[in-house]
Amino acid sequence: MSSVIKTTTPFISKDLLCEALDTMDIHYTIKQDNIITELEDYYGLQMFVYSPELGRYQYQHDSSANGRFNPYPWGMDVNKWGTVSNFLQVVDTEYQNAYKRLEEKKLKEEEERKRKYIEAQKLKIIAKAESKGYSVKETRQGDKTRLVLVRTHY
């Protein structure tokens, strides 16, 4: 029988991981590079531990909390997700959502920077052209700006 093994998205970014947990309303504290959640199992608080060798976070938890006992008998507050796997699936989704939001934000910032640059460039050209005696007419053609410079010689 063939098997299908899926992993979660590698949690590389602390900021994105924290944003994902915020979205899920999970409280946590950060100690050095580790993100310690409020979720508790037999061995204590579960946490995302950063592994410099792997370059990503790994979730540290009691292996029995991953579906072997359902419900988990040692007071772990994972009822909402049932198992650690399910919990990590939700973290995965929210991590990807946070990544998309970041991309959109960066893209928007980049677009805004470009828009400001082009506007400044246009104003500079108009000012210089006028100082050289040209009259300038500006029109838009889709995404493009069209400047017609006219100087009459008498």
Binding site: Y117, K122, I125, K132, Y134, L147, V148, V150, T152, H153
Partner: protein
Amino acid sequence: MIYGPGCRYVIWLQGCRLHCKGCWNKSMWSFDPNILLEREELLRNILLKAADGVTILGGEPLEQPDNLLWLLNQLKKSGMHIMLYTGYEMNEISFEKKYQEICNMADILIPGRYHENERDIYLKWRGSRNQKIISKDDCVIKEEDSTNEIEIIIDENGKLCCLGYPDDSISDILSYPELTSTMKE
């Protein structure tokens, strides 16, 4: 406005063997393909734009006589106003039947080499004084040659394209050393 009356669809045809001294469009001398377009596709694009007319320049438009003749025939059927630039002189055109046929289809024809020593940026639609405007509609050439027109297009990424007959002050206006050096070649 820069290349003819009204709002125009402008086509630069790649390739020119005339090599006028002081030409500002040296990048269009090569016969290596630049943007390859099926003529049918070009025609469709032109008709979609609903411009007042089509202006064809280059390079040297008469270097692609068969395709140009086909295109002008199609445009004429659609009642399109045609303006054509060529570096060939009228006597040279008269020796070549196909050239003649093409030039006869133009509503406005601007023939003749660009002469650097006759350069005048205040001429209407042309770069040097020896070049004439031959028009089927006399009224368009009655306007005086006294205006210098330049068109600057800033694209969505801030890239500049300058068209027309600029003098040296344009380099200062554009503040674009790399563009300026291309133009001064």
